[in-house]
């Protein structure tokens, strides 16, 4: 939730606002942003029109808040304990596996919770694109930091480019999620995330060139 927007609210107010955002995020995921009306959000969240306009100026404002909420969802997914700090090939493979495990329950139902917003907002204004880019920046950085660490440890060769590999992982995920949703098939996302991890693996140091592991 957008902290600035909720700072001055009472606890009850915060709960109401959170409920509105939750309902809006779900509806937008199911039907798209264009297919979600403020009226419907109001009905589903069981709040009055004046309540909704108390918390959000308009649909654009609500959409931006949903982008923020989904950004948090992505961050939360990547802080699952089994993914560690995303700084080993095993952790990256666990990431790919975790995505594949969600294919039927999430991706075939509506694509990526974050990427489907970005894809629909292709012609939105600069401020909304900035919001979305901030989420992608954070996501790319999560991977980049882990990959930098892997290279520092010598798990990856010096010619591995952490930034390039991080962007590869995120774009593979986003395109795979889009195609898996559109084609209603598990194949694209499974192929894409596994390929991205295998791509990282192709930069793994061979045992000979690998520096000895530190024991600590």
């Amino acid at each position: 939730m957008n902290a600035a927007g909720s700072a001055r609210l009472t606890r009850k107010g915060r709960a109401t606002r959170a409920r509105i955002v939750d309902v809006a995020a779900k509806l937008m995921y199911q039907r798209g942003i264009a297919g979600t009306s403020i009226d419907e959000v109001r009905n589903r969240a069981a709040v009055s029109g004046s309540q909704i306009s108390h918390y959000f100026h308009d649909k654009r404002d609500l959409t931006r808040t949903v982008v923020g909420a989904r950004r948090d969802d992505v961050r939360q997914f990547h802080s699952r304990p089994d993914l560690g700090a995303l700084d080993s090939l095993d952790a990256l493979q666990a990431w790919a596996d975790a995505n594949v495990a969600d294919i039927n329950t999430v991706y075939r139902k509506g694509g990526c919770v974050y990427g489907s917003l970005a894809a629909e907002l292709v012609e939105a204004d600069a401020e909304i694109h900035g919001d979305l880019a901030t989420g992608y920046d954070q996501w790319i950085e999560l991977f980049r930091a882990g990959l930098v660490e892997m290279r520092r440890r010598g798990d990856l060769r010096p010619d591995a480019d952490p930034r390039h590999l991080a962007v590869s992982l995120v774009t593979a995920h986003q395109g795979g999620a889009l195609l898996t949703y559109i084609t209603d098939s598990p194949e694209p996302l499974r192929a894409a995330v596994n390929a991205a991890v295998e791509y990282v693996r192709s930069f793994a140091s061979t045992p000979k060139t690998r520096r000895p592991k530190r024991t600590n």
Partner: protein, 231 residues
């Protein structure tokens, strides 16, 4: 102009085809600008300078029109892949050129105003299930084109025997579409550059010749992130 798919299309004269193509092009631009829900036949009629009866003659309803838009857009993608400069798209040199031409195309169309397949997919996918099927059919054609090209590479021994053409085709189309989604979000080319480089380098993992297997370095375009400016 790219040929449109033949479904729900009657035989047309050259002039009829031109009119129909103009309607489809204008409609695609309207959807891009204002969204699908804002597309109404009146606005389209005016923007494309056709009469109501002409419009009704070419498209029985909005659904038929939107199917034609998607068909036109996937034809643009398929034509791009079939252009003579790309050869048969079945050597590593062809795929390196595929990267260059993708980046050149992106620079040419910019990030606004020109319909793209990922843009249509992102905007239309959730409008209804028929739309999703129509978009899926387009992706299937694209995947199949690449699958066939990659199979030829494998059959000629350019790729190792265990290379799976379908999986590789899925990876390439996915990377392309994900790269496009981020590029259009950032209004910058680097995400697409990284994504298509990943796609081709991943194909290289399956090269028979060790020299082909060496990953090519991603080009680092200047200015990673364009700061959003007020509209």
């Amino acid at each position: 102009m790219a040929p449109v798919a033949v479904h729900d299309e009657r035989p047309l004269t050259a002039k009829g085809r031109a009119t129909r193509d103009r309607i489809v092009k204008v409609a695609a631009e309207l959807i891009l600008r204002d969204g699908l829900s804002a597309l109404n036949m009146d606005a389209l009629r005016k923007a494309a300078s056709v009469s109501g009866s002409q419009l009704a003659h070419y498209f029985t309803d909005k659904g038929a029109l939107i199917r034609a838009i998607v068909a036109r857009q996937i034809a643009v993608v398929l034509d791009f892949h079939r252009q003579p400069k790309l050869g048969g798209l079945d050597t590593f040199d062809d795929f390196e050129r595929w990267i260059d031409l993708n980046m050149r195309y992106l620079r040419r169309i910019g990030y606004s105003g020109t319909p793209t397949y990922h843009g249509l997919a992102g905007q239309l996918a959730k409008s209804d299930n028929t739309m999703r099927d129509t978009l899926a059919a387009g992706y299937s054609q694209w995947i199949e084109l690449l699958e066939n090209a990659i199979r030829r590479m494998r059959d000629r021994g350019v790729l190792v025997a265990h290379a799976d053409p379908r999986t590789l085709a899925l990876v390439i189309v996915s990377a392309h579409q994900g790269g496009a989604t981020l590029a259009f979000t950032y209004r910058a080319e680097w995400p697409h550059a990284d994504a298509v480089r990943f796609a081709v380098n991943y194909l290289r993992v399956f090269a028979t010749d060790p020299a082909d297997r060496v990953p090519r370095a991603p080009r680092r375009p200047r200015g990673r992130r364009v700061k959003p400016t007020a509209p």
